[in-house]
């Protein structure tokens, strides 16, 4: 599997949701996966074994510096502590990609010009990166409502599945 040079900085949601789908290995295609310390605690509360995945070396890291821009956005978007630390780290680490499923955190990241995607993006990327087949990803997408705590409107999930089916 060829690695990209993108460094992932993950919020708790995608780690928890990918673990619920037994799909954390999809993150192995990135250069590094950094988990902010605050996020580690959150993940461990919900999925105690997620960060011990045999195929992924999660790098636990604290933010060394605190961006004034991030601090200014905290009250606007009511960002949680894990989201705050992830955004601070994104400001420190070049070529970073924030993984979050939280709408407010995504808005904050966009206003800071930080690349940001979520669990669904990682699942779909697995087809493009030839990590999983289309049918495997469709199976995972279909299991989201029953196996995960990721909330998505059923008709929108069907649209996502339709996009995968029609992809050449």
């Amino acid at each position: 599997m060829a690695k990209t040079n993108t460094i992932v900085i993950a919020d708790a949601g995608p780690i928890i949701h990918l673990d619920e789908l037994d799909s954390l290995a999809l993150l192995a295609g990135f250069e590094k996966v950094i988990i902010p310390e605050t996020v580690c605690h959150e993940v461990q509360q919900h999925r105690p074994f997620a960060l011990s995945h045999p195929k992924i070396k999660f790098i636990r890291q604290r933010a060394d510096s605190f961006s004034a821009q991030v601090n200014a956005l905290i009250p606007i978007y009511t960002l949680h502590s894990g989201e705050q630390e992830a955004l601070h780290l994104c400001c420190e680490v070049s070529n970073s990609l924030l993984l979050t499923d939280d709408t407010a955190a995504r808005l904050a990241a966009k206003s800071l010009n930080i690349a940001v995607h979520g669990t669904l993006g990682v699942l779909l990327r697995a087809i493009r990166q030839q990590l999983l087949s289309k049918s495997q990803v469709i199976d995972l997408l279909q299991s989201i409502p029953s196996q995960t705590t990721l909330h998505i409107r059923p008709s929108l999930l069907q649209e996502v599945i339709a996009e995968v089916i029609k992809m050449k």
């Binding site: 407010a104 669904l120 779909l124 996502v160």
Partner: protein, 65 residues
């Protein structure tokens, strides 16, 4: 106007919420739950969530990295 609802909440989460109330961060558990729901609804507007999911589709299926 307030409407009473009945729901189930994981014991651990309820304990964490109760601890916050006991420490004085919130007046009572009802206020804490109202505040939590209000924040969730405010920060998860459907139109934005859908837009981000469509961006994930585009990146996931056709992105470069």
């Amino acid at each position: 106007m307030l409407t009473a609802i009945e729901t189930k909440i994981p014991d651990q989460l309820l304990q964490q919420a109760q601890d916050m109330v006991n420490e004085g961060w919130m007046i009572n558990i009802d206020t804490l739950i109202i505040e939590a729901v209000r924040r969730y609804v405010e920060s998860h507007q459907q139109i934005l969530t859908e837009r981000f999911i469509r961006e994930d589709i585009e990146w996931g299926l056709h992105g470069k990295d």
